[in-house]
Symmetry: C2
Subunit: 583 residues, 2 copies
């Protein structure tokens, strides 16, 4: 037995107890006649004391040789501490050490094991096993476990069955790029790693397992953006004999349960917002509704004056930035430059100061009088002391630009409080979206998403207008989950494949087994998937997912700690009957 207690649990009630502790040397202080060591483990820190009078001489001298991160075991008596530390759980006591055993020495760590470390991102990744000793990372992993268990227990109690679906599956050219795995036993052939268990969960519905879930790794070989990982974890769910409403209720219930159990937060019933409304009001299908700043469309009150920029625009739209009326000219110019950056792409921005005396001062006073500006203030909900920012141009692009500005301003104004949680459902997504590159429509969600029956007649005439039984759960400006009611009859599915430009043969090759399955009695079904990495990060009040993943990869998809991917043995290639073809 290496320890009788851990380093986080001893307090005044243990005084005079003989204990054995083990852990890492966080730091030591040596005053000649006395020395102290902070001993750390997963559970906390306990102070050890070595005293030239009370400690055996050999032990006392050995203690002075301890370096940072040495692994040690000590025996000793819990005693009351002279200078108590009320900020530490163990701050009332210390251990007067009688035996000291060095279990392992340690090189000096490449960065400090402190909440605020001096280690940069790459260094921390390379020595991730040391980084995990730091509270922020350690606590993120413990938190993730808590969320995962919360999800599993909640869904299990609701009758869901977690079913493991295979990782070695079949490559389908639709969607994102697959990671593939050459098969040695079937030379020339490849498995693919799942981008999601989508078809398997639908097959489980055909199989009658009417409430399925799985916390499962998924894989996408995409060029990585910041905060994207080639492997990520999904809470994958599917239900049979349900309508959209049933699914929204179950997973709203799950999310409220997590917020309550883990964060102690009660949230009201989730608002439901159509995709169209979200786009018009927030310029975004994952609106952050922790704050207002809703879009005010100004076409009717800003066009048909002499300002040609607005007159020629498809959309003129503004937002009111609360209490920003005192912005200096310099600050405003900087903000105009910000929206004109290529990442945002606005060609300019109009502003209106709403003075506290009820008057307005705008950058377009030449074209608009106080009455006009008054109407703008009404449309954007601006109050005295606010500032209105207005963009114009192509409707979609302008909305996206204004959404970016809205989020930026909210961040600067401190309106995105990570401890406030504002979830909602965005519903009625379009079924199809037009892809400029291929010149045809693609499934916005995936080819199994069911169209709304009442919109079916538009498939021929105005496919972009067809709405789907598809929904996203949005939390604080992040899509944390999304799903749909699936097509469950083969006629509608065949129609969908046709509209998506699949030949019958292609559809057969890629989805034959699913289409076959649907002939044997598919129930109505639907589901959704949550991104666990993101969900955990947001619940944890963080913006980035990396600290919630034990061993993340960098932006080139490399694990810099183990140095993967790597070259493999020529004999391995030979066995797999493949050759490198590096250009």
């Amino acid at each position: 037995m290496y320890r009788s207690h851990n380093c986080g649990e001893l307090n005044a009630s243990h005084i005079n107890t003989e204990v054995t502790l083990a852990g890492w040397v966080q730091k030591s202080r040596d005053k000649g006649f006395m020395s102290w060591v902070d001993l750390r483990d997963r559970y906390g820190i306990t102070q050890l004391i070595f005293d030239s009078e009370r400690t055996d001489k050999t032990v006392f001298e050995k203690a002075r040789t301890l370096g940072r991160e040495f692994v040690i075991q000590v025996k000793g008596k819990v005693i009351e501490r002279e200078s108590k530390n009320p900020n530490m759980a163990t701050g009332d006591i210390e251990i007067l050490v009688s035996e000291l055993n060095i279990l392992n020495e340690a090189l000096l760590p490449p960065f400090t094991i402190e909440d605020e470390t001096d280690g940069g991102e790459e260094l921390r990744m390379k020595y991730r096993y040391i980084d995990i000793r730091r509270n922020p990372v350690k606590n993120s992993l413990l938190f993730r476990h808590k969320v995962s268990m919360g999800v599993r227990n909640y869904l299990s109690e609701k009758g869901f069955c977690e079913i493991e679906t295979p990782y070695l599956i079949k490559s389908t050219p639709e969607g994102a790029r697959d990671f593939v795995v050459p098969s040695r036993m079937n030379p020339g052939q490849f498995y693919a790693l799942p981008q999601s268990p989508q078809t398997f969960k639908q097959l489980l519905m055909v199989g009658g397992m009417d409430k399925y879930f799985q916390i499962v790794k998924c894989f996408r070989d995409e060029d990585l953006r910041a905060d994207r990982q080639p492997e990520f974890t999904q809470i994958d769910c599917e239900m049979a004999f349900v309508e959209q409403e049933d699914i929204l209720n179950v997973f709203e219930g799950l999310t409220r349960h997590l917020l309550k159990e883990i964060k102690g937060i009660d949230v009201a019933e989730f608002p439901r917002m159509t995709y169209d409304h979200a786009m018009k009001t927030y310029g975004n299908d994952k609106p952050d509704i922790r704050f207002g700043m809703e879009f005010g469309e100004l076409n009717s009150v800003a066009q048909n004056k002499d300002f040609s920029v607005f007159n020629s625009a498809e959309l003129v739209v503004g937002i009111a930035a609360p209490n920003c009326g005192e912005m200096t000219r310099k600050e405003i110019d900087a903000l105009i430059e910000w929206v004109k950056r290529p990442q945002i792409g606005a060609s300019g921005m109009v502003y209106v100061k709403c003075n506290t005396d009820g008057t307005f001062k705008s950058s377009v006073d030449k074209f608009y009088d106080q009455d006009d500006l008054q109407k703008w203030a009404e449309a954007t909900g601006a109050k005295a002391g606010d500032m209105i920012f207005i963009l114009s141009g192509n409707a979609n692009k302008t909305r996206t630009q204004l959404s970016a500005l809205r989020m930026e301003l909210a961040t600067r104004l401190g309106l995105r409080n990570p401890e406030v949680f504002a979830p909602l459902w965005v519903v009625d997504f379009p079924l199809l979206e037009f892809d400029e590159e291929s010149g045809r429509y693609h499934a916005m969600h995936h080819p199994f998403t069911s169209p709304k029956p009442e919109d079916m007649h538009l498939l021929e005439t105005d496919p972009g207008k067809v709405r789907a039984n598809a929904y996203d759960m949005v939390l604080n400006g992040n899509e944390i989950g999304g799903g749909s009611i699936r097509i469950h009859d083969k006629e509608t599915q065949a129609l969908m494949f046709k509209y998506l430009g699949f030949t019958e043969e292609e559809a057969r090759y890629q989805f034959g087994f699913l289409m076959d399955a649907f002939q044997f009695g598919a129930p109505p079904h639907g589901g959704l998937a949550f991104g666990l990495d993101r969900l955990v990060a947001i619940l944890g009040g963080q913006e980035t997912i990396r600290d919630f993943i034990a061993f993340p990869k960098n932006n080139s998809g490399r694990d810099v700690m183990i140095d993967a991917p790597s070259n493999i043995n020529p004999a391995q290639l030979d066995e797999l009957q493949i050759k490198l073809n590096v250009k």
Copy 2:
């Protein structure tokens, strides 16, 4: 809302309730003026009744068009059943249907959806989504979920944290063959899929996460034997600041908890048996101890007579088959042929009948008298009415052969009752095993397993005798888990690599990151892994794992349902910068 109740919950207390059910047509009977349909879902079967007098004519006629496995929704009233079926949960009632809605038609299923189906293995695999509708498969998947949740909740309560380790890792030529994944972003380089998270869990210990577990998929590209899968699931565990005893206690606790919670069975403290004892007594390092038939070594009582076969043998060893004294000559001959089959490989077998009158009749009466045979009976624990079977030859081979015979006889004698659970620990495994092919010692477990300190001095002189701090949990003749205390100091690790024939460079290339990590303060640690597929099957009283896996692969590693692996698009190969090289 598709249903108000499921098909397994209605009983006499619901009589006169209006309900809505949905499910699959299990079967229908039509008597002209009346017809019945058994409606099935995940939860059970409910009988529907359509009656020419009480049912609307259109509904009545529609009911007669229903085929097997049609998906339907019905509304109706719960009524008392005339001929009750006490074997069904819903056997007291039936539903007088007022509305019938065909949700989906179905082709005739390729095999019957019954507990005993007429479908063969390959057909069931091809239509796995239909197979899952059958109770034996469905219940196996539900059972697996229950076991997994039991494991997770037990370990979480004990302070373990489930941590997801990466799937895209680094290929190491040691051990079994890796599945590899070409990296598009790092052309010419490959990830490997993990054979186990071994090194990651050790790094987590270095990181201070002192109680780790994970239920995780692992991958081995091996030629498949029956009941092996290229992807399988492991309950992977590791602890820091522990000795072997601590680990055995925790996971014995887990297993007892599962047996108690899931099977309602109390088992006593697990026996602990050394590897040497297991091999001598059962010829096997995973002995089935639900029954006796322990080996009796007969060298001292059977050698130095005139029977040259025994005299020249390294080992003469027998078992007593209980109550087999009445076996006919023909049965005995068949058994002798059985042990002589190439799979077993014995060159012959001696037998002794222990007559009920206390006399003996053997196949070697020419060489041995009744006193000799009496000693054999004592050594094998044979009683009057038993039969003793004796093999001889090379010690290791003979033990393996007799072990196979022991298991075969026990199966034939019905001594392997799947509802009896006899777990044990086998401990003190050898550290190394000699590999004839490469002419050198290999790690029996893996290169991180710690030798017993008291055996270290034998490493130079008699490496095969060095015991490891390694242990297996054995249940009913199956190894369900195994692990070891790891090496945690770099000196011992370097020594091990040396004895395993690694050059420093090779060790560095393959395990450099682990050796680096160990320099930064590795705590003493150890762990184990359970095979979940096997554990669940055994707890479920089954011999084969396949029905406990939702979508298993066949013996060529193929998923015959989705037809994977498959050819991939030449453009995909091109992007990955690899070429086929099929011979």
